[in-house]
Each structure stands twice: as C-alpha cells, then as structure tokens.
C-alpha cells in the first residue's frame, strides 16, 4: 500500500516535528526563570530613576529635579548636566514622586503640559526607570502627540526629519515584508506567523544582549539571526513540508500559521513577559542636527544595515544559482521542477532566508521602539499593507511599498494624531486593492 505508507511517513515526520518543536519551546521556557526581566536583570547596583531633558533636539542644562519616596525614604535633588541628563540611584524599591522645578527652566522653555510637573510611580527592585518630562520652546512643538490636530505650518526641517525617520521605518518594515513576500512568492503561502518570527529575532537578540548573556548588540544580533535560520528551516522541515506532502490545502495551511502565530505570541508573553524591554546599547541617543534635518545616529545605522541587507538579498536573487532557482520556482513551479531544479531545497532555503529577514527586521525595530512580545504581530499588518501596495509575491515590491508607507505614516503625524498613523497605512492597503489589486510591481494571475 504505497500511498498509505507515504501518508504514514508524513504523519510520523509531522509528529516528530511538532513534538520536537514543543520540546524546544519547553526547554526555552524552563531554561530561563519565569520572568527574565526580573530574574535575569544583571546584578546592577540596585534601582534608580533617570532621564534626559531636551527641547527639540537641544539638551537643557541646569534644571533641578527632585525625587522623593512616598514612604519617606530617599530624598534627592539633582541638576541636569550639559547633555540634559540626570539620574538618581535609589536604595530601595518604593513608589517615588519625581518633580521638576519649573523655575529653573531656561527662559522661553516650558513644560509641554504645565500640569505634569510631577509624576508618581513605582520603582521595582533592580529597575531603572526612565522619566520623561516633555518640554517645549513655545513655538508649537510637535512633540505634542496627545492633542489631536496640530496644524503647524510647513516646518521643512521637521518634515525632512520625519521623512528620514519614515525611511528608517520603511526600510525596517521592508526587510521583514521582503521575507514575507519571498516565502509567499515561492511557496504560495501567506505566513500569518511571520510577525512572530520578527518578534523571535528581537527577543533572541535581547536574550543575548541583556538576558542570558551580555554580548554587544551586534554579536547578539548575529547569534539571533543564526537561531532564526534554524527556526525557519525547522518550521519548513518539521511542519509545513509534511503538511504539503499530504496535499493539505492552502487555506488549511494558513489556519496552521494562524495557530502558530497565536501560540508563539502567547508563549512570548508568558516567558519574555508582557512589558517592553530595551537593548543595553543604543537605548537613548541624542539627535544630531545635520542642518537639513535632525537625526539620531542609530537611525542612520538602521537605515544603513537595512539597506545593506536588502542589497545582499538582491545580489543573492540576481547573481547566485540559488537566487535564479528561487525566481524560477516563484515563476512556475512545475516548469522549474521539470528543468531539474530541486524545488524542495529551494523552498527550504526561502524559509530560512525569509525568517532571517524577519528576525533582522525585528532586531532593527527593537533598537528604536523596544522589544515587546507582540511587536511582530503589530508590524504584520503594516507588512501586509506594504506587500499589497508593492505587489504580493514580488521580491522588490514590498520594499517599495514599505518605504512609501513608512514615509506616509511618519509624515502624517505632522497633521494628524499619531494614533492614526497606522490607520493611514491600512487605508492605503485597501485603496490599492480596489484600484490596482496586483500592486505596483505585481501582475495578474492566470485562470483556466
């Protein structure tokens, strides 16, 4: 009974895949104490509060900050240094009241929200809380994100700065979306767990950088990428390939990726914890004023790394045998198989490549907006938007779409509340589907 034999082999492969996957996760969960944030925080000398006062991109020096414990412990007064920074070490965890002395602010500088001159918040053991007092120099600062429509005139410098940040964001989303689109292009499957692969990269890099080990972020990121490659290959070999062999329909496979997404995200929530955490490096940086626009060095770094990664992928796709094979399989699987291409191998490689790209995107995202268990899932919708706008299944369309959306979302904050910036991206997706469903670079598919 040959077909039965084969079905049983598939079943066995699947079961092995799932069980080993679960074991892997279980080990990861048990390997670390249940709250890495608390237990794995390096043995820093106790807890503290700190912050940096800036207006626009200029530090504000000589401002008095007062810290008082509500149960009477610790009272301290500090002044901000020439970088606007201040910090107060605390001897015990407690609830503290941190207030800023508005009289010591330089002329023309005021609190963005005059009511908010004092904050009361708990400081846990070993925690170093960053305290933010938002300042304005009276010229209608755009830091003001809470209060709706702020129709400042055309502030070119701000526009330019936001555009650069949009490029940064677009490249990061583009790197992830490229992975999503490559996997779709070659396998025909929309991987709804792609967001969790993004989070995987960010969390792994955090574990190497601040959790289990204290590697510099670059090394930690490389370790994370290697693990991501293993995960991507493992998913294809242990889960997707056996299912495909059993001729599981595409819709069922999508459901599997949904399940995987839900499972992994909740798993991260339990093991990594629900709170966002930053990498040890590059957490806070000052903006450098480059004349035309102001930008933090890490923004430029992220743009450079993202662009480099995209260039590498483009080289692989255009110049290597593997890349040619990938494009051939994406174009016509049967024809590719008939002309001697090992389709299985190509699919495995594209899963690895796609997962590595996702993980890299996650790390880059984590550098600017902290690492969080659902960061990838949130980014997934933006990736969809980018992929649809650029062209589903094309290699470079998503990048184009992501850059467009990145700039649009960031620049939209000039006129619209920040909370709507993703709404614009998703609206772009829908309009695109109505008017040009194949995307900017895509093409229509064949019927009959």
């Amino acid at each position: 009974m040959y077909p039965n034999e084969q079905a049983r082999a598939c079943h066995r492969a699947l079961r092995v895949g799932i069980v080993s996957g679960l074991l892997f996760l279980l080990m990861a969960a048990l390997g670390g104490p249940h709250d890495p944030a608390m237990a794995q925080e390096p043995p820093t000398p106790g807890q503290g509060v700190s912050g940096q006062l800036v207006v626009g991109s200029d530090p504000v020096e000589g401002v008095t900050i007062e810290v008082a414990g509500t149960s009477g412990a610790d009272v301290a007064t500090v002044e901000t240094d020439d970088e606007g920074a201040w910090s107060v070490p605390l001897t015990s965890p407690d609830t503290y009241e941190i207030s800023i002395d508005v009289d010591t602010l330089p002329d023309g500088v005021a609190l963005a929200d005059p009511e908010r001159d004092s904050l009361t918040l708990p400081v846990r053991e070993g925690q170093n809380r960053i305290i933010i007092f938002q300042l304005t120099d009276g010229e209608g600062s755009a830091e003001d994100e809470e209060d709706g429509f702020d129709f400042i005139g055309l502030d070119f410098k701000r526009l330019a700065s936001l555009t650069v940040d949009g490029v940064r964001f677009g490249i990061v989303i583009g790197v992830m979306a490229m992975g999503l689109s490559l996997i779709f292009g070659v396998t025909g499957l929309i991987n709804f767990a792609h967001g969790e692969l993004v989070t995987f990269g960010a969390i792994m890099a955090w574990l190497f950088n601040a959790g289990w080990f204290r590697f510099p972020l670059l090394i930690a990121a490389l370790c994370a990428l290697v693990l991501a490659a293993v995960l991507g290959g493992g998913l294809e070999l242990g889960l997707v390939r056996p299912l495909r062999r059993r001729r599981t329909s595409n819709i069922a496979l999508i459901v599997v990726t949904i399940g995987l997404s839900e499972f992994l995200r909740s798993f991260y929530q339990v093991t990594f914890g629900p709170l966002p955490k930053s990498y040890r490096d590059y957490a806070i940086q000052r903006e450098a004023d480059l004349g035309l626009f102001a930008v933090t060095p890490k923004t430029l770094g992220i743009i450079a790394i993202g662009a480099l990664a995209i260039l590498l992928v483009a080289l692989v796709l255009q110049r290597t045998r593997l890349g040619t094979a990938m494009r051939a399989v994406a174009d016509n699987k049967d024809l590719a198989a008939a002309s001697g291409i090992d389709v299985q191998r190509v699919v495995l490689h594209v899963w690895i490549l796609g997962t590595v790209l996702a993980a890299l995107g996650g790390i880059l995202l984590g550098v600017t907006q902290k690492v969080e268990y659902d960061m990838g899932f949130k980014a997934l919708l933006l990736m969809f938007a980018a992929v649809v706008v650029g062209g589903l299944g094309t290699a470079y369309g998503p990048l184009l779409g992501a850059l467009l959306l990145g700039i649009v979302t960031q620049v939209s904050t000039l006129w619209f509340p920040t909370e709507f910036k993703f709404v614009f991206a998703l609206l772009a997706l829908i309009l695109m589907l109505v008017f040009r469903p194949q995307g900017i670079l895509g093409r229509r598919e064949r019927v009959g």
Binding site: R443, R444, V447, G448
Partner: protein
C-alpha cells in the same frame, strides 16, 4: 447549414454569412509577450469551428478573454449581435456563451449530481429570499434533476451520480465538465481540449456527441490538439500562432496551408513544444 461555408474565401478574418460571434482587434499581452492579437474573426452560427495552433499560441487566453475570465488590453467582441466586452464572466455565461476549462474544475466536494444541478440556469431557489421557501423552487429542481440524469446518461456518468466529484478520474472530470456546460443550456459552447486524457473509445463517442449538438443547432468552438478529431468533425478550422490568426478555412484547406505547417514546424524548436510533433514530410502528420 454547414455547406454555406464552402463558398467562402479562406483568408484570415473573412466575414461569415451568419456570424454568432464577431471579434475585433482583441489584444492581450503579458509583459512584452503578445499572447493574443486577433484582428478580426467571425464564427458561423450552428457550426463546429476548431481552434488549433501549437502550444502557447494563445488559444486558452483567447477563450479567457472572450468569456470574461481575463481582461484584454483592447478589442471588442459581440455575441448574437450584443457587445460583450467589459462584461463580467457570469454575465457572458448567462448570455449563452459558455466555456469549459482546459484544467478541469470539478467541484470536488459536491456530488456529481449537485455539480450538474448547480449549472442549471434560472433556478429561483438560488436567490437568497426564495431559497428559504422550498415551494418556490421544488418543481424547477425536479425538472433539473431529470435533465441532469439525461445528460449524465449521455456522458456515461450515471453510475457516479451520487459520488463526490472529487473521486472522478481525470477523463471523467472532462466529461463532467462538458455535461455541466451543456446543463446551462448554452447557445454556443467553447470547449478547451475536451478530449485530452479521455480514452479513445469515449473520445470517439464524444466527437459524435459534439456533432449531434451541432445538428441540434448549438454552435461549438473547439480547441483540440488531436488532428484526427479536428479534421474529422470540424466544419471550419482556425489556426492561431503567436497570438494571431494565421489561417482559416475548411479542414482540408487549412491542413495544406503552408503558413500552418510553418507554424507547427517553427513551434517544434520552441521550448514549450512537447508532444504531437507533426512529421515534416506530411502536412500536420495526418
């Protein structure tokens, strides 16, 4: 009826005495490739017109455009005097221009009978509100059932009537596809390689079915690679190559047309060409 065609000159795009389908300037390109570029084509009512041409000539794409499954970049066409371009596929099918697919599309998890019943036209029970009141559609349904049984008999599928269509063999699917198209009561039927994969005896009987349909007044347009069949049953043959109509005429004329022979021989060196290579010594290897 079909004799009228004998008097017509055999040049591509020649007008027919009583055309049911008239195509003008139909153009479909994929990237830089002109898949279809038909300047003018008329199809005579009540005849079997065969569409031949090497693999990749654009025959299926031509069907797709005509039936609204693909949007050409340009061109107009009319069926029974009414323009069809810009219409949706389902509207074109309702006008009576019905097609089958080269890669069969059996509704796998419906029974063979349900596949047939689904194809019947004007069933009031298919409207949402009426569907809730069986009294409205029960009679139509019973009548359709009888017709489905008849057609399944004719296509030797009645023993499978209660089975899921997914269990049919490849050849049986071709038969079901054709039976289903007939169930819609079309006035013209476009068959995309109905005999590929059907065993020779059944193919023979399919050929005579098709002739019978023609004799009952149906217009048939047939894409077929089997030259025996094409030459045997066609009243008129149209040959496409690289998207263009390069020749049309009665079977014997087209068979001998040097342009046609060239197209097939040329295609011999193209990468898509896989099977049924004509012998260069004899036109089309017949």
């Amino acid at each position: 009826m079909t004799e009228v065609l004998n008097a017509i000159p055999t040049v591509p795009g020649v007008p027919k005495p009583d055309p049911i389908l008239v195509v003008d300037g139909l153009h479909r390109a994929f990237g830089g490739l002109d898949a279809v570029a038909v300047e003018h084509l008329e199809v005579q009512r009540g005849c079997i017109t065969s569409l031949i041409g090497p693999n990749g000539a654009g025959k299926t794409t031509f069907f797709n455009c005509l039936t609204g499954f693909d949007r050409p970049q340009g061109g107009t066409w009319s069926f029974d005097g009414k323009p069809l371009h810009g219409r949706f596929a389902y509207q074109i099918a309702r006008r009576g221009l019905v097609r089958t697919f080269q890669l069969t599309k059996a509704l796998a998890r419906l029974t063979v009978t349900d596949n047939m019943l689904l194809a019947a036209r004007d069933n009031p029970g298919e409207r949402l509100y009426a569907s809730l009141i069986p009294a409205i559609w029960r009679d139509t349904e019973a009548r359709n059932r009888d017709r489905a049984r008849e057609l399944l008999d004719r296509f030797e599928l009645s023993h499978m009537a209660g089975e899921l269509a997914g269990t049919l063999s490849g050849g049986q699917r071709k038969l079901l596809e054709m039976a289903r198209a007939l169930m819609t009561d079309p006035s013209a039927i476009l068959l995309d390689e109905p005999m590929a994969g059907v065993n020779p005896r059944l193919a023979q009987s399919l050929a005579s079915h098709i002739q019978e349909l023609r004799d009952n007044g149906l217009t048939v347009i047939l894409i077929e690679h089997d030259m025996d069949v094409v030459m045997g049953i066609s009243d008129w043959v149209v040959c496409m190559a690289e998207g263009r109509v390069i020749s049309e005429g009665p079977p014997a004329t087209v068979r001998a047309d040097p342009a046609v022979i060239d197209a097939y021989l040329g295609a011999r060196h193209a990468p898509q060409e896989t099977s049924s290579r004509p012998d260069p010594g004899e036109p089309l290897g017949i």
